[in-house]
C-alpha cells in the first residue's frame, strides 16, 4: 500500500480547516439569530451610528471580492500568462468573498425575513436596488468565466467572459462607492471621488487577499512559486497600494480646503480619539507604509515578507473602513451651519459607538463563509494554479 502519511496529513488539515470555518460560520449565524430575535439593541448600533462592524466586514469583503478579480483580468484581458493560470483561483475567491459579504449585509437588516420583498420591490433611483442586480449578476458572470476557463472546449470564450467580468466589476465597485457618494448631507461622503477611490482600493485589497490565500495553499501543498512571478506580483501590489494611498490623500486634502469641511477633517485626522489613531497608525503606517517597506526593500521582499505585508494591508483596510464608515457617522450632521447645536437626539454631539460581540461574530461569520467556500472549492475542483514551466 502507498504511504498514507502525506495524504492523511492533508486530509486532517482539510477537515480541521472545514471544522474551524464551519464553527465560525455557526457563531455568525447564531449572532444573526440573536439580533433578529432581540433586535439591534444588543448591538452597538444606535440612531446616530446606524451602520457598524457588520458593514465594515461586509464592505471589505465585497470590495476585495471585486478587486481579487484583477488577477484574472490581467491574465485574460491583458494576456499575461503568469496571471492567467491564477485566474480560476481568483474567481473562486471572488465568489467566496462576495457570498460572505452579502450574507453579513442581509443578516444585519432589521427585517432579514423580508429579503423576498427586497427582491420583488425595486426603487429605480436606489443604489441598493441596483446593487441587487449587480451583485447577483456578478455571481453569474464569474461562474460563467470560471466555466470558460475550466472546461477545455470553452477556453476560446474565456477572453470575452474575462472582459465581461472586467467591466462588470468596475460597475459593481462604482456601485459600492456611490452608496456613499449619494449621501449629500454627510460631510464624510457626498463626493464624486469615492467610486474611483473604491476601485483602486479594491485592487490593493484584492491583491493582498490573493497573496495570503495563494501563499497558504502553496505552503501546505509544498508547491513553489516561481520567484520571478512572485516579484512581479508583489511589485504590482506595491503599485496598487501607492495608488490607493493617492486617492485617500486626494480625498482628505480636498476636504481640508473647504472651510465647512475642516471641522470634520479635524475630527478624523486630529482630535477624534480612536479615529485618528486608526487612520494614522492602523491605515497609513501599518496598512500602507510598512507593507511598502516590506515589498520594496532590497533585503526583504521574499515570501514571508509578502505574506506579512498582505496581512498588514488587510488590517489597514479594516482600519480604513472603520474610520470611513463609523467615523463618518460619528461626526454630527451640520443641520444649522454657523450655530452651536444641542438636543436630546445627539445633534451637535459626537456619536458614540462601542462594537459589540454579536456584530463582530456576524462579521467574522461572513469571513468564515468566504473561507469555507474557498477551502471546499479548492478541494473538490481544480482551482489551484498550474504553474507554467520555467522558461530558461
Amino acid at each position: 500500500m502507498a504511504n498514507h502519511s502525506p495524504l492523511r496529513f492533508k486530509n486532517r488539515i482539510f477537515y480541521t480547516l472545514v471544522a474551524t470555518g464551519g464553527l465560525v460560520v455557526l457563531m455568525g449565524l447564531y449572532a444573526a439569530h440573536m439580533m433578529e430575535t432581540h433586535g439591534h439593541i444588543i448591538t452597538g448600533m444606535n440612531n446616530q451610528i446606524v451602520w457598524g462592524m457588520p458593514h465594515v466586514f461586509a464592505i471589505f469583503l465585497i470590495v476585495a471580492a471585486s478587486g481579487v478579480l484583477n488577477v484574472s483580468s490581467i491574465g485574460s484581458v491583458f494576456n499575461k500568462p503568469a496571471y492567467k493560470v491564477r485566474a480560476p483561483l481568483a474567481g473562486l475567491l471572488s465568489i467566496a468573498m462576495l457570498a460572505g459579504g452579502l450574507t453579513v449585509l442581509m443578516l444585519d437588516l432589521g427585517r432579514p425575513d423580508r429579503i423576498i420583498v427586497a427582491m420583488t420591490h425595486f426603487n429605480s433611483t436606489s443604489v441598493f436596488a441596483w446593487n441587487i442586480f449587480l451583485y447577483s449578476g456578478m455571481f453569474a458572470a464569474v461562474a460563467l468565466y470560471l466555466w470558460t476557463m475550466m472546461e477545455k472546449r470553452m477556453n476560446p470564450w474565456s477572453k470575452p467572459a474575462g472582459l465581461l467580468v472586467f467591466v462588470w466589476r468596475f460597475v459593481l465597485t462604482t456601485g459600492t462607492g456611490v452608496i456613499f457618494s449619494f449621501l449629500v448631507a454627510r460631510q464624510a461622503y457626498g463626493t464624486a471621488i469615492l467610486p474611483p477611490m473604491f476601485i483602486v482600493i479594491s485592487f490593493a485589497w484584492g491583491m493582498a487577499v490573493f497573496h495570503v490565500v495563494q501563499s497558504s495553499i502553496y505552503e501546505w501543498n509544498k508547491k513553489l512559486l516561481d520567484p520571478y512571478v512572485q516579484k512581479r506580483m508583489k511589485n504590482l501590489m506595491g503599485v496598487l497600494v501607492i495608488a490607493a494611498m493617492y486617492f485617500v490623500a486626494a480625498y482628505h486634502l480636498t476636504n481640508l480646503y473647504f472651510a465647512k469641511q475642516t471641522g470634520f477633517e479635524r475630527f478624523i485626522l486630529l482630535d477624534g480619539g480612536v479615529y485618528p489613531l486608526l487612520f494614522w497608525v492602523g491605515y497609513v503606517l501599518l496598512g500602507n507604509l510598512l507593507p511598502l517597506l516590506l515589498i520594496y526593500h532590497p533585503a526583504l521582499g521574499k515570501s514571508k515578507s509578502i505574506v506579512f505585508a498582505s496581512l498588514l494591508i488587510i488590517l489597514g483596510g479594516f482600519c480604513f473602513l472603520y474610520v470611513f464608515i463609523i467615523g463618518g457617522q460619528a461626526f454630527p450632521l451640520s443641520i444649522f451651519p454657523g450655530y452651536e447645536v444641542t438636543s436630546s437626539f445627539g445633534d451637535g454631539a459626537i456619536g458614540h459607538y462601542q462594537p459589540s460581540l454579536p456584530e463582530i461574530m456576524l462579521g467574522l461569520g461572513g469571513v468564515g463563509i468566504a473561507f469555507l467556500i474557498t477551502t471546499i472549492g479548492i478541494r473538490v475542483l481544480d482551482f489551484v494554479p498550474h504553474e507554467l514551466p520555467k522558461s530558461t
Partner: protein, 190 residues
C-alpha cells in the same frame, strides 16, 4: 496534478452499488461496523465514513420519524373538537363579539389576506381609510376575545387558532396592536 484532491491508494473500495451477496440484516450491520472501526484505526477517514451505511441508516431513521409524525397528527386530530365542517379537527375559535362579519366567514377564510394586502396599500399610499371597515383595527375591534381583549396569545385566539393549525406565521402583530382599543383605555390608569 491537483495535490489537494483525494486519491485512492489503489485498493478496491467498497462500492455501495455492488451487490452484497446476501450480507443483509443484523449480521451485515455488525460486519460493516467492524469495517468502520478498522478503517478508522488505519487512519483513512474518508473511506471509514462508509457513506452507503450512513445513507441506509439515515433513510431508515427518517422513515420511522415520518411514521411517528403521521401517527401523532392523526391522534391529535381525533382529540380536538371539530367545527361545523367537522373533518380533520379544525380549531375552535374565540370569535370575540362575533355577529355578522364584513363578509361571509367562508369567503373571509380564503380571502382575508387579499383584503388586508389591498387595504393596507390603499391606506398607506393613498390615504383611503373608507370608514375603516376593512382595516385590521376594525377586525381586532370585533374579534378580540372578550376575556383578554386580544386576537393572539392563546391557542383559541381568533387569529392564532387557525394560524397555528395551518402553521402560518402571523407577521401583523409585531407592529399592529392586537388588542381592541377599549382594552387600551382600561389598561392606562390615568
Amino acid at each position: 496534478m491537483n495535490l489537494l484532491s483525494d486519491q485512492y491508494d489503489g485498493t478496491a473500495s467498497h462500492s455501495p452499488w455492488l451487490p452484497h451477496n446476501g450480507n443483509q440484516g443484523a449480521g451485515y450491520v455488525v460486519l460493516r461496523a467492524r469495517a468502520i472501526l478498522e478503517g478508522l484505526s488505519r487512519g483513512s477517514f474518508r473511506r471509514s465514513l462508509h457513506l452507503d451505511l450512513l445513507v441506509t441508516v439515515l433513510a431508515r431513521v427518517t422513515m420511522v420519524l415520518v411514521a411517528l409524525l403521521c401517527l401523532s397528527n392523526i391522534a391529535s386530530a381525533a382529540e380536538s373538537n371539530g367545527s361545523v365542517a367537522g373533518s380533520y379537527g379544525m380549531p375552535k375559535l374565540d370569535i370575540g363579539k362575533g355577529g355578522h362579519c364584513v363578509a361571509p366567514p367562508e369567503w373571509m377564510r380564503i380571502n382575508h389576506m387579499k383584503v388586508l394586502f389591498k387595504q393596507r396599500d390603499e391606506t398607506v399610499h393613498q390615504g383611503i381609510r373608507a370608514g375603516g371597515k376593512y382595516s385590521l383595527e376594525n377586525c381586532v375591534e370585533c374579534h378580540a376575545s372578550l376575556s383578554d381583549n386580544s386576537v393572539i396569545g392563546r391557542p383559541d385566539s381568533f387569529c392564532e387558532g387557525c394560524h397555528r393549525y395551518e402553521a402560518v406565521k402571523i407577521d401583523c402583530f409585531e407592529c399592529h396592536s392586537s388588542k381592541r382599543s377599549v382594552a387600551l383605555v382600561q389598561e392606562v390608569p390615568k
